[in-house]
Amino acid sequence: MTTPQAVSLAAKDIHLAFDANTVLRGVDLDVPAGTTTAVIGPSGSGKSTLLRTLNRLYEPDRGDILLDGRSVLQDNPDQLRQRIGMVFQHFNLFPHRTVLENVTLGPRKLKRLDTAAARELGLKLLDRVGLKHKADVRPATLSGGQQQRVAIARALAMNPQVMFFDEATSALDPELVKGILALISELGADGMTMVVVTHEMGFARSAADSVVFMDGGRVIETGTPEQIFESAETQRLRQFLAQVV
């Protein structure tokens, strides 16, 4: 699978509130083309909300989002999201469709691929995540790890320029986590621009090009994995790392 020409992603001073509940308080993010940024932080720090704001599932109250250096806030949000693949903690596969249909739904309906071409694409992607033999079953019959692989294939089927992973391994049994992380790393190694929200510190350390620590809707520290994990500058990050590592 060839990754399309990698693009950069940046966020400037993103603010978001749901009524009285302020979730993001001025978040800056800079993901150079072809790199992986891991976002870590305690629950409720706004990590998942940040991802959904970057692909405009939530519209930011203030700030700007740049894809390939250009603001996307005036774009059609549906078309923007076709360029950004997203993988969820709970997979969110479509249970009423087969594994293959889950993967091909987007290309068929949004890119007008004919059935044969969509099938070929879908099988190729399923092969890549190791599930070609499960193409015609319903997602409910798969294990969690298998479902997440399908979800990744589904996101890749739209041939996105950027991939978001929202705690993609948090709902998995421990023995399945490794395989999914390996798959994500592999994507990063292929040159995909990625933002990975994760609780897997080992993964953030080994596979990410840079790590962002969020707390209370703000970015507290940004740096290379070494800077974040070896020489944290803030008390808050040291405290967090002490608890999770």
Binding site: R52, R81, F94, H96, G106, K109, V137, A155
Partner: protein, 586 residues
């Protein structure tokens, strides 16, 4: 499971077909809707009470009529040009009834046919119920109402009437052995049955100053007399003598008569040309002897002194001497009829008359079943479309979509089905009359569909809302807009979850389709209930209704089990190998 289902269906079908084929030898039919002939003539009742005698002045019968040759059939304000659309009933033989071949007939309707022929019109009879008949005539749903309607001042406020073609006695019918021996013996506290909206109701209330028990039709009152649920029935005498059969546990104890309230056809008050034309036609059929022939054949009884049909200028009809015929019978006939039957054999006769099953089932199959299915399925389709719109609007973020959906749902779920059907059928009917050709069938479908829409909307909304929010999020993250996400991802899952509830709604609708009977259907439009009801009214026997009930069960019982089966399968999940492709279900 499927095999169990198949077996159930097979057994029910076998039962029905069996009832068709099992060779129960046909006994001679006592069709109450056949002309009894002049030999059955009755004399003027000797025990005529004087209670209801009016002042005797007749201020409504016209002095004469316009010449028949000056009637212009195209200027009569008819709903359908060239066709006289007539609202009639099926339950009052021999005046108005439906015969064994499913045609509306009886003295009143045959006479009207003859009159229409004189004018140069075709007649189209449509069944309805009496309570709604005058309103339907006034709203021009029907050009003419033909139902042995006694003209009263109260009714003249709603509709206009032709000259009289018959006259009305009231009979007092009581269960055998009752102590009530005449109108004078009626007192407060007794349950006195009348048909709602009839002149007998007015008589009981205004003249006797008593509170009657109201029934929708004659057959139901009579069934109540036979089972002693009521103490007395004040009936039009034609209906009483046509309905009370020898051996029945009921008898006629007294008759009364009101000279100034003759029987006439009802026409919309403002449609003077049609009233004049019918009056001209009536005089013409009296002059050429048709009236006398039909009268002697269908309702042979002596005319009360001082009354004749038609305008004041119409000739006196030449009738056989009914008093003499009746007198000759009185001597010849055995004084005692067959003795009263036992309660058990009455019940058996009322519910298990195999001959009537054999008579009812072909009609139920050919007419009732297709119509019930057409009504139910069409209404379901409308209901699903409206329901889906309501469900989508109901979960919308815009209050301008949510509120109307809410109001609609509250109204249509809050009203009884029969109210919706009557209001839409009778209220909206005249407004869209030109669109539907005054045919209530589409209105019935619309009423059922509008009602079903409210329930289906709530079912779908709950189904859609039960779908995990992550599904919409995942679909939108792929790049689908909100409408496409709903259509491709959320709604199919929501619908699937509520399939059992939707099936239940379909079953309710199937049963509710019987209420379309209130709107008045022509013979070929009758659904299961009305086919059974008509034969029930025609024979006074409940077997046809039981037969139509069996048809409903043959439809609803398998469906109910199908619902349970789907329900179990959805809740238990199922093996991957045995999966039904979802698209086919949805």
């Amino acid at each position: 499971m499927t095999s169990f289902l198949r077996a159930t269906v097979a057994i029910l079908v076998a039962l029905l077909v069996g009832a068709l084929c099992v060779g129960v030898p046909a006994r001679a039919t006592t069709d109450q809707c056949a002309p009894p002939g002049e030999q059955s003539a009755s004399a003027l009742p000797t025990n005529l009470a004087t209670a209801a005698q009016g002042d005797g002045t007749d201020k409504y019968t016209t002095p004469g009529t316009q010449p028949l040759s000056t009637v212009r059939p195209d200027a009569l304000g008819l709903g359908t040009p060239g066709v006289l659309t007539v609202g009639t009933l099926s339950d009052a033989p021999p005046s108005i009834c439906i015969n064994s071949s499913g045609q509306f007939t009886g003295f009143d309707n045959e006479l009207l046919r003859a009159i229409a022929e004189k004018i140069g019109l075709r007649v189209n009879f449509v069944g309805t119920d009496f309570a709604g008949l005058l309103a339907q005539v006034a709203s021009r749903r029907f050009d003419v109402g033909s139902s042995s309607i006694t003209t009263t001042d109260a009714r003249r406020r709603t509709v206009g009437f032709t000259n009289g073609y018959d006259f009305g006695y009231f009979s007092l019918v009581v269960p055998t052995g009752s102590a009530i021996n005449g109108f004078g013996a009626l007192k407060p506290g007794q349950r006195i049955g009348v048909v709602q909206g009839t002149v007998q109701e007015a008589y009981v209330v205004d003249t006797l100053h008593l509170e009657p028990v109201k029934f929708p039709d004659y057959a139901t009152v009579y069934a109540n007399i036979k089972t002693r649920q009521i103490d007395a029935w004040v009936a039009p005498s034609q209906q009483a003598s046509g309905t009370v059969q020898p051996g029945d546990p009921a008898r006629i104890v007294e008759n009364t008569f009101s000279l100034d309230n003759f029987v006439a056809y009802a026409v919309a008050k403002e449609n003077k040309p049609l009233i004049d034309a019918l009056n001209a036609g009536l005089d013409a059929v009296i002059a050429d002897g048709t009236w006398a022939r039909l009268y002697a054949n269908w309702v042979p009884r002596a005319l009360p002194p001082g009354w004749k049909p038609g305008s004041k200028a119409a000739p006196v009809p030449q009738l056989p001497d009914f008093n003499a015929i009746a007198a000759s019978h009185a001597t010849a006939a055995p004084s005692a009829g067959p003795g009263p039957k036992s309660t058990l054999s009455q019940l058996k006769d009322a519910f298990l008359d195999w001959r009537l099953y054999r008579q009812a089932i072909p009609d139920l199959f050919k007419t009732g079943l297709p119509n019930t299915l057409i009504l139910t399925i069409s209404a379901s389709v409308i209901g699903l479309i409206i329901g889906m719109a309501l469900a989508i609007a109901g979960i919308s973020r815009s209050r301008w979509l949510r509120w109307p959906a809410r109001v609609y749902t509250d109204i249509f779920r809050g009203l009884p089905e029969v109210v919706i059907i009557l209001v839409i059928g009778l209220g909206i009917g005249p407004v869209v009359g030109s669109l539907t050709g005054n045919n209530p069938y589409p209105l019935g479908i619309a009423a059922l569909g509008l009602m079903a829409g409210a329930y289906i909307g709530e079912i779908l909304r709950s189904g859609i809302q039960s779908v995990d929010a992550g599904q919409l999020e995942a679909s939108r993250a792929l790049g689908f807009g909100y409408p496409a996400s709903m259509r491709l991802v959320v709604v199919p899952q929501g619908v699937r979850r509520v399939l059992p509830a939707l099936m239940n709604q379909f079953i309710s609708l199937l049963k509710a389709s019987s209420l379309v009977y209130f709107l008045g259907l022509i013979a070929s439009q009758r659904e299961l209930f009305q086919v059974g009801r008509d034969l029930n009214a025609q024979t006074g026997n409940l077997s046809p209704l039981v037969a139509s009930g069996l048809f409903y069960l043959a439809l609803t019982v398998p469906l109910t089990h199908l619902v349970n089966y789907i329900d179990r399968r959805l809740s238990k999940g199922k093996p991957a190998a045995a999966e039904i492709p979802t698209q086919e279900i949805i």
